[in-house]
């Protein structure tokens, strides 16, 4: 079952597909992000966020939470969001960086074992719970966020 899941993930990441909805990543070809890919990205982002030091976490955790919430929302929409057209958006850039990184892992350009890490991120990604809200209290923006793993 595990092997099958891994092959599905690897397969889905290796072969680009083009559709007309959700988030679209373009390199040499364009492809729409699938559910399994969104899950893998979430797992990776959670791991990256947790690996940061205390000082960085203060600003990076809310950014990751906001990105995951944004990604989930756009993924469900019918409109096409091309990441390359959103280069000024930090959230889109974070997703772009994540995808580039996952592709490099997959093609063996990093020290990571693709089978192991992709499986790990997909398992973690399933459990990631992210929430993000901005409120204005006394003319100041207050951020409320959650970035945790569901039990």
């Amino acid at each position: 079952m595990k092997k099958l899941l891994m092959l599905v993930i690897l397969f889905s990441l290796m072969f680009p597909t083009v559709s007309n909805a959700g988030i679209v990543y373009c390199d040499k070809e364009c492809f729409q992000l699938k559910d399994s890919q969104i899950t893998t990205i979430k797992g990776l982002l959670y791991e990256v966020a947790e690996s940061q030091n205390k000082k960085t976490k203060k600003t990076f955790l809310p950014h990751v939470a906001e990105t995951i919430v944004w990604m989930d929302k756009k993924h469900k929409e019918e409109k096409v969001y091309k990441l390359e057209d959103l280069k000024k958006d930090d959230k889109a850039n974070l997703i772009n960086t994540s995808i580039s990184f996952i592709r490099d892992v997959l093609y063996g350009r990093t020290k990571f074992n693709p089978r192991v890490v992709l499986y790990y991120w997909s398992i973690i990604g399933e459990k990631v719970n992210a929430e993000y809200k901005e409120k204005i209290v006394d003319k100041k923006t207050v951020i409320e966020y959650k970035l945790e793993l569901r039990k």
């Binding site: 990256v48 600003t59 490099d104």
Partner: protein, 254 residues
């Protein structure tokens, strides 16, 4: 009469001594390598151990303070190589290594290059010039505040069969005041124009200096033959010397 004899003896002794010195100075430094005199002339101090860390970076505007912040998204790998000083600028040194050391494994990655001297001091390196042609594979970097004696560039290319010396850190073998010194022969040029040496090498030797019998720079090792690893490859003397001279001319005031 005795005085004349003494004078003649002294003149003869002086003559013998003077011919001895002139004879010695004509001997190439690496001719009788196993002597303390020649060992001291090996440019070990010019050697630099290279460490390259590759990583992904992400920069974002923090929603909390609106400041731009950058985080190391992931460290993706670390590898080592060799390099050597070719010129001392007013504020640092120009260093030469192999180009694939200066190149990241993926265009999306960033890299941090650190140079370690034989006495263990480390310096950050900044890439200045690159020749990415596969047969050349040579790169020039700048290290601020680094001051080590530069390797002298030879005036002529080695002849096939010439004995050569190589100071390198194959497989990352390097420690404070310890760097492997290897020997081999120059074999000539390959059909692509690369210099071929019979100097033992391994991953980590990339970017190491190849010296002639006078301990002058004649080449650099950038790769080894897959099927016969004793045969090593580098840019030709003509390519390397042109690259070094032009790089020095362009960046000598850094």
């Amino acid at each position: 009469m005795n005085l004349i004899k003494k004078l003649l003896t002294m003149v003869a002794a002086l003559f013998i001594l003077s011919t001895c010195t002139s004879f010695n100075s004509n001997i190439p430094l690496g001719y009788n390598y196993n002597t303390e005199r020649t060992v001291e002339n090996l440019p070990r101090d010019s050697f630099l151990f290279v460490m390259v860390e590759e990583y992904y970076e992400h920069c974002y505007s923090s929603a909390l303070n609106d400041e731009k912040e950058c985080v190391v998204f992931k460290n993706t790998g670390i590898f080592s190589g060799s390099a050597f000083v070719v010129y001392n600028t007013p504020n640092g040194s120009l260093v030469v290594t192999a180009d694939h050391i200066c190149q990241t494994s993926s265009p999306s990655m960033k890299q941090k290059m650190t140079l370690t001297t034989l006495n263990g001091k480390t310096y950050r390196a900044k890439i200045l010039e690159r020749d990415s042609k596969r047969q050349n594979d040579v790169c020039m970097v700048y290290a601020k505040s680094l001051k080590k004696p530069p390797v002298k560039l030879a005036l002529s290319e080695p002849k096939p069969g010439a004995k050569l010396f190589n100071i390198a850190a194959p497989a990352g073998i390097f420690n404070i005041n310890m760097v492997p010194i290897l020997e081999g022969r120059y074999n000539g040029l390959s059909f692509t124009g690369s210099a071929i040496y019979s100097i033992p090498a391994a991953g980590g030797s990339s970017g190491s200096m190849v010296l002639n019998y006078n301990f002058e720079l004649v080449g650099l090792i950038h790769s080894l033959h897959v099927r016969f690893p004793t045969v090593t490859v580098g840019p030709s003397y003509v390519v390397l010397s042109k690259f070094v001279r032009e790089g020095i001319k362009k960046h000598s005031n850094l």
